[in-house]
């Protein structure tokens, strides 16, 4: 019997070749993208699986009284906690302090460098491929490599016991190699060094007081520890020990499991977005198959009736139908697997790899994904095999044998609710894509308060081997640039818009006792001129006042507002508890967007640094005449090629650098675009199948109408108008959902577009046009049939 079913299934699939291939195409694309989306979610959730007992790991989050918060605390707090709290099993700092230059075989390289305490492994339990967890970070001059770095340097060899030269002077002994870490893990490690090395650094040691909250701390709690009680204790320690506990509202114990979402909020959006997109695509695929299968059922009612007369059972009919769909689904899983590995996964890595790392698929590790895909396939098969048969299977034989179904009885909308659902989802995605597009377009072209065009931004933080030699050639370049007629302005600065450090200081106004937390950076006297940022009050920096200027600052308008000042006459920036007389505010610049437009303009202060002081600058910005960018870039390339540095010189246009801030959102847009295209494509496949069956069912009606004088156009309209109506209904359902979701999303931007009615209209028009086109092909075909032929049946 099974053989018979199988034979029949294959024959049926082959008989409806067009429909089968449409089904296969839709299924393959759909399942392929569901696989890709869910694989990224899967990779994300298993990425931290190698960290045991995560539920007992916490990190400390500082909440300030002004509502801001960050994941750092003061450095000595850890020791204090460890010495007073028996409920803590282990604790470690985890510092990034610039990436150290390492040397092996006379080749220099730089890897993400993290400094941690010996208890690091006790906290995180990250498994080592080579070496021992217990002593890997005990010795001061030891280094632990990640598997990736180890492979780059030593291949498959075990490097433990070998040496690496760090920063030209330190001889580091390799004590361990970590097992591979997923790129989606919360750990972004390259090499791991003991914190004790950092403590030799005088600049670092100067920060390790009870004043400066710059140290990320991770703790492993005893399972039985009372978390709330412990949190209270930590806050008590803060009050007792912090130099200025008044600005701290509280320290929060954050579960380690939430750190990835907490530090990269967009990851949450992307992961949730992926889950939602996968769900919707799956739904569309399902609905599509249901639609097509339901339409074939109309044709099969006679078949089913005959089978029942011959003694067939309902079960047999369902098995047959499931088998037919099962073959299709299985085949499409195979195709979609190829699609996933060959096209979609590399594409996804293209889009998100730069921000989240590239993930790869391996059969040995990721077999749950394969099992999941098969389980999904079975589920899909059961749903699309059983559901459509249910309506027809109980039809009385005497009716079924005539192939008649009382279609007039059932409600048109109810019957086509699947089609509506499909188009609701498709239009929803189109709306999202349009709004996303508009927002990105807006952010890229918005007035940022400075002129981003015709400015070259060169990175001059290159780890020079000989800083004095580099400085003299840099100064020669400055002179050359200033003499160049195509150069309008030149500036050296610590930051340019889109790349300001997260560096804050809290100042206060002794007259009003107001504390203001201000972001800080260094700039020269040419910065505002080069970027064309207008002054609101006072004056710009003046290089001729060199000595006194080091005690001058320029703040932005937001900072002035935050202090509640209307003028800067006689105002100074003072630290609380500081005896010096602070900094003289010589000017106020207008607000400009030095971050992306997700953030509003925060208070900002610029300290003065002379342009010639290469060591304190990271950027060289040059405003050039339009069209002369290439020439000036060549001059700069030539100048830096003569300088001996570890990093290579790079430069780009400021406009590109600013647009680059939206790379991730653009990646999301690309994904949404693809998903939107796909949903509408799959929906249209279903529609195509549906209308061809509709046309077949109504072939007599069409014939009669033509005999009575209806033209081709009339028939086309007759066949299509109902479906266009369905798309319209889908649009009406999709609009409020799209509005609600996107409005909430836009709310997370400090600067955003407002959603316009034309965006919805555009989405609907796109959907209707594509649908009309798909319908048109089939409808015209049916309308052209000679009525003599169609009326002759039986």
């Amino acid at each position: 019997m099974l053989k018979n079913h199988l034979k029949l299934s294959l024959r049926n699939l082959w008989k409806n070749r067009l429909l089968s291939s449409l089904n296969l195409l839709g299924l393959s694309i759909g399942i392929g993208s569901v696989l890709t989306l869910l694989f990224s979610v899967y990779a994300y959730y298993v990425a931290d699986a190698n960290i045991p007992n995560q539920e007992n790991i916490v990190y400390l989050k500082t909440h300030l009284t002004d509502g801001n918060s960050y994941n750092e605390v003061t450095y000595p707090l850890l020791d204090k906690i460890l010495s007073t709290s028996p409920e803590i099993k282990a604790g470690t700092h985890m510092h990034g302090w610039g990436n150290i230059w390492l040397e092996s075989d006379n080749k220099e390289f730089q890897k993400t460098t993290t400094y941690a305490d010996p208890e690091f492994f006790e906290v995180f339990g990250l498994p080592l491929k080579y070496g021992n967890q217990s002593d890997a970070l005990i010795e001061k001059y030891s280094i632990v490599l990640t598997d990736k770095v180890s492979k780059q340097l030593f291949g498959e060899e075990n490097p433990v016991g070998k040496n690496l030269i760090a920063a030209d002077t330190l001889n580091l002994n390799i004590t361990g190699v970590l097992e591979p870490i997923s790129p989606y893990s919360s750990f972004r490690l390259g090499v791991l060094l003991p914190n004790t090395i950092l403590e030799d650094n005088p600049i670092f040691i100067r920060q390790t007081n009870w004043d400066n909250s710059f140290s990320p701390i991770f703790l492993k709690l005893d399972e039985k520890a009372d978390v709330l009680q412990f949190q209270k204790k930590v806050n008590q320690l803060v009050v007792e020990n912090y130099a200025d506990p008044r600005t701290i509202s509280r320290i929060e114990l954050m579960p380690y499991e939430e750190m990835r979402m907490d530090t990269v909020p967009v990851a949450k959006i992307i992961i949730n977005g992926n889950i939602a997109a996968a769900f919707f695509v799956l739904l569309i695929v399902l609905v599509n198959l249901l639609n097509l299968n339901t339409s074939t059922m109309f044709r099969r009612t006679k078949d089913i009736a005959v089978r029942k007369i011959l003694g067939g059972t309902k079960k047999g009919v369902i098995v047959q139908f499931c088998l037919e769909n099962g073959i299709l689904v299985l085949l499409s899983i195979l195709i979609s697997g190829g699609l996933f590995l060959g096209v979609l996964l590399p594409k996804m890595n293209d889009v998100f790899g730069a921000d989240f790392g590239e993930i790869s698929f391996s059969f040995s590790n990721d077999y749950p994904v394969i099992l999941g895909a098969i389980a999904l396939g079975i589920l899909v098969t059961l749903i699309v095999g059983v559901l459509p048969t249910l309506r027809f299977i109980s039809l009385p034989i005497s009716k079924g044998i005539k192939g008649k179904i009382d279609s007039a009885k059932s409600n048109f909308l109810l019957r086509n609710s699947f089609v509506i659902l499909q188009f609701t989802i498709a239009i929803l995605f189109i709306c999202v894509a349009i709004i996303l597009n508009s927002q990105i377009g807006f952010m890229k072209s918005a007035d940022l308060g400075f002129d981003r065009e015709n400015v070259i931004a060169a990175n001059i933080d290159l780890d020079y081997k000989n800083i004095d030699a580099a400085k003299s050639s840099f100064n020669a370049l400055l002179d050359e640039l200033k003499a160049n007629p195509y150069v309008e302005n030149v500036s050296a600065s610590q930051a340019v818009p889109s790349d300001y450090y997260f560096n804050y200081s809290t100042f206060y106004d002794p007259n009003t006792d107001v504390d203001v937390r201000i972001r800080r950076s260094y700039a020269d006297d040419g910065y505002l001129k080069t970027l064309k940022i207008p002054m609101a009050l006072g004056r710009d920096f003046d290089a001729t006042l060199d000595n006194s200027e080091s005690k001058s600052v320029i703040i932005n308008r937001s900072a002035m507002k935050a202090f509640g000042w209307t003028s800067i006459e006689g105002k100074r920036l003072n630290y609380r508890n500081d005896d010096s007389d602070g900094f003289a505010i010589v000017g106020v610049m207008e607000d400009f967007n030095y971050q992306d437009l997700q953030n509003s303009v925060e208070p900002l202060v610029h300290y003065y640094n002379d342009e010639k002081d290469l060591a304190h600058h990271r950027y060289l910005s040059v405003r050039v005449m339009e069209g002369k960018e290439k020439e000036i870039q060549n001059i700069m390339n030539a100048a830096f090629s003569k300088v001996n540095s570890r990093k290579s010189f790079s430069q780009e246009l400021l406009s590109q650098k600013v647009s680059g801030q939206y790379r991730l959102i653009e990646g999301m847009l690309k994904t949404v675009n693809v998903v939107a295209m796909m949903t509408i494509f799959i929906s249209c496949l279903g529609m195509f199948g549906l209308i061809s069956f509709m046309a077949k069912r109504r072939i007599k009606e069409i014939g009669i109408r033509k005999v009575l004088g209806a033209g081709v156009l009339k028939i086309v309209v007759l066949l299509s108008k109902d479906y266009i109506l369905l798309v319209g209904i889908g649009a009406l359902i999709a609009f409020p959902i799209a509005w609600y979701v996107m409005n909430a999303w836009l709310g997370s931007f400090a600067y955003s577009i407002s959603i316009q009615w034309w965006m919805f209209v555009l989405a609907a028009v796109i959907a209707i046009l594509i649908t009309a086109f798909t319908l048109g092909i089939q409808a015209v075909k049916s309308a052209m049939v000679n009525p003599v032929k169609s009326l002759r049946t039986e």
């Binding site: 019997m1 024959r11 078949d303 005959v306 003694g311 067939g312 009385p396």
Partner: protein, 221 residues
């Protein structure tokens, strides 16, 4: 006695009014009879046939088939009953288009869970008897109407039914093909004692039967 209908009524409700499809039908059929049901269009011939074949239900009355009370049986038993004892022949053949002639003949045996070897033998026998061995691998659409109906009759017979119900079996055939099919029925009835009830419009075809039942507006006359 093969079957007995007693006071069978069947109706549909149309706009608050009862339209009777069958009205007080009484019928006794003995084994070995060849009955023709006649009457104008809409007189209830096919409905009566469907009721006898248990493909359709009735609203009132009693129906005994081989001493089983059909009216009180559950659907499952009813279908077992007709599967076992009744073969159907239709005006438009109702062969399964996706199956070859051979597979069409095999289909009822599959549902009866007959062993493969036995199935093969029965099908070969039937093909032989109807002289359609050469056509066994063709699909129904590749055959003429007469040949299709031949396959239809063969399929109805293969399960060795006691009763064959034929709903205008020659309605789509030309006169020569009709003649052949009717001769076949006559032979089956005479030589093998198969009971046949046919619905027909044609006096000539009706004459093949041993008894004629006339219907008008759902009533026996």
């Amino acid at each position: 006695m093969l079957l007995q209908l007693r006071n069978i009524f069947k109706w549909v409700q149309l706009g608050g009014q009862r339209i009777f499809l069958l009205k007080d039908i009484n019928l006794e059929v003995q084994e070995g009879e060849f009955i023709s049901i006649m009457g104008p269009s809409g007189s209830g011939k096919s409905t009566l046939l469907n009721v006898i074949g248990m493909l359709d239900t009735f609203d009132e009355g009693e129906y005994d088939f081989l001493n089983e009370s059909v009216h009180s049986l559950k659907e499952k038993y009813r279908s077992n009953l007709y599967k076992e004892y009744i073969g159907f022949v239709f005006q438009s053949y109702h062969l399964l288009d996706d199956l070859t002639v051979e597979e069409n003949l095999e289909m009822p045996l599959l549902y009866k869970k007959i062993k493969s070897s036995e199935r093969k033998a029965l099908v070969a026998d039937m093909l032989d008897r109807f002289s359609i061995v050469g056509k066994k691998d063709l699909f129904p659409t590749q055959l003429s109407g007469g040949q299709q109906q031949l396959v239809g009759v063969a399929r109805a017979l293969i399960g060795k039914p006691k009763l064959i119900l034929a709903d205008e079996p020659t309605g789509n055939l030309n006169s020569q093909q009709s003649e052949e099919i009717m001769q076949l029925f006559k032979k089956l009835n005479k030589e093998e004692g198969v009971t046949i009830i046919q619905v027909t419009h044609s006096e000539k075809n009706a004459a093949y039967g041993s008894r004629i039942i006339n219907l008008l507006d759902g009533r026996k006359i």
